[in-house]
Amino acid sequence: MADYREMWSNLDMDLEKHDVLCQVLPEVFGEVYLSQQKRPRGMDFYDFVVSEIHGVRPAELIEHQKSGGKVFGTFCVYVPDEIVFAAGGIATGLCGGSQFWVAAGEKVLPPNTCPLIKASVGARLDKTCPFFRIADMFVGETTCDGKKKAWEILASEVPMHVIDIPQMKRAQDVNAFEREIHSFIKVVEDFTGSKISADSLGESIKLINNKRKALQRLYEARKAAAVPISGKDALLVTQIAFYDDPSRCAQMANQLSEELEERISRKEGVFPEDTLRIMISGTPMAIPNWKLHHIVETSGAAVVVEESCTGTRYFENLVDETAPTLERQVRALAERYMKTNCACFTPNSARIDDILRLAEEYKVDGIIDTNLQFCNLYSTESHLVKQALAEKNIPVLHLETDYSEQDFEQLRTRVQAFLEMLRE
């Protein structure tokens, strides 16, 4: 067996604690993922990534550092990865999705903090995640209050840059974000020691766009009447996209999409005909948070699209590749990122438009609008989501949950009742 212990102890990880996590993952992944029937062969790659989750990619990042490169850890889809890659750095998503890290976060954070923030802080403080140990710099953002304050705690651990994300989307806000990207360029240039040019930024814009296009292609396949891939599997692809090498991510997602397109031409789906089609909208599900998808898909329905940051919000909208100068490229970046619709903005009616559009495009029978516990933003917005969906006669169920298994049966009962209602 691959032995990464030396690498982990060089990263000053707590091997004993980390070992507890390593014990649970194989069992859970086996039951949640490997028990599915008719999975596309293209999922092999993603099964491989999960099997080596704290080994192969961390080793690649360390290699990058050995040859003088820097690694930037990020926590939000508003952070423009293009800037990092243009300076020869690597950006890697760090959002914590594991219940295992929550307790360590709770030691320093108020109990009414969302589990994503608790897990992200806990992963670092508890020294149980190699990615959190490897990143040379963390890049935070001013989105929700919980995160803003968490950056101040993490800043005592790792060099931290916080990007000021506007809270509204007026013209002056897009301009402000454009200036913010310029400041980020300066920070990244100083930290990496390499200058960003129109050429290098142009390359990285294409690199990240290609990743987005590949994920768009994958999601396109989920619109088929006979869904060729489970929601769980599609979610896993998106979750892994956050920290995999972007060009490999595009390559693998394209390869998988090709297989899915062949399935579509043969009308071959992974679920029985007439399986209910569900959209999940709301807060992100960072790896290994598979709880809700597992509930839905073991209750006789299929998740066909996620309106979330581990879903469409991650890859919808491309950056204009034709901008000729660095100035114009930065403008194009600001414009693209400000099209993403997160509940941290006010007003955020464009997100509701997104949900309505996706409901139609993916022909969903119902929507589960969900937010992580104590996420005040999405929880409040769910009222407006519900209202808008009611007007269009689209059934919706609002669920609030965390990473634990405590509410599993209760959630399952509610989901099953919702599905029952949809069937009637």
Binding site: M1, A2, V24, P26, E27, V32, F48, S51, F100, E405
Partner: protein, 87 residues
């Protein structure tokens, strides 16, 4: 893949495992890439799961192509229904 009568093939590194998965795929032998269960090894990393009925043919492929295998072991039994747990 059926859930009982399965075997785990363990490797000293992931290169061997990925090579074997390629070869099994070419031969049309069903397999799954899986994280190694703790009951079988204290180190993490990939294993391949094959059906009991395919084990002999898989072993032939391993011998023919000199794949380095650490061990082959029956899948650990689980008692009763699995209850969801977080990780």
């Amino acid at each position: 893949m059926e859930t009982d009568n399965r075997f785990y093939i363990l490797f000293p590194n992931h290169h061997q495992g990925l090579r074997l998965s390629q070869l099994l795929r070419e031969r049309g032998i069903d397999y799954l890439i899986a994280p190694t269960p703790r009951q079988l090894s204290t180190c993490c990393g990939i294993s391949l799961i094959v059906k009991g009925g395919d084990l002999e043919e898989a072993s032939q492929v391993i011998a023919e192509h000199e794949i380095v295998v650490e061990k082959i072991a029956p899948a650990p039994k689980r008692d009763g229904d699995w209850k969801y747990r977080s990780c």
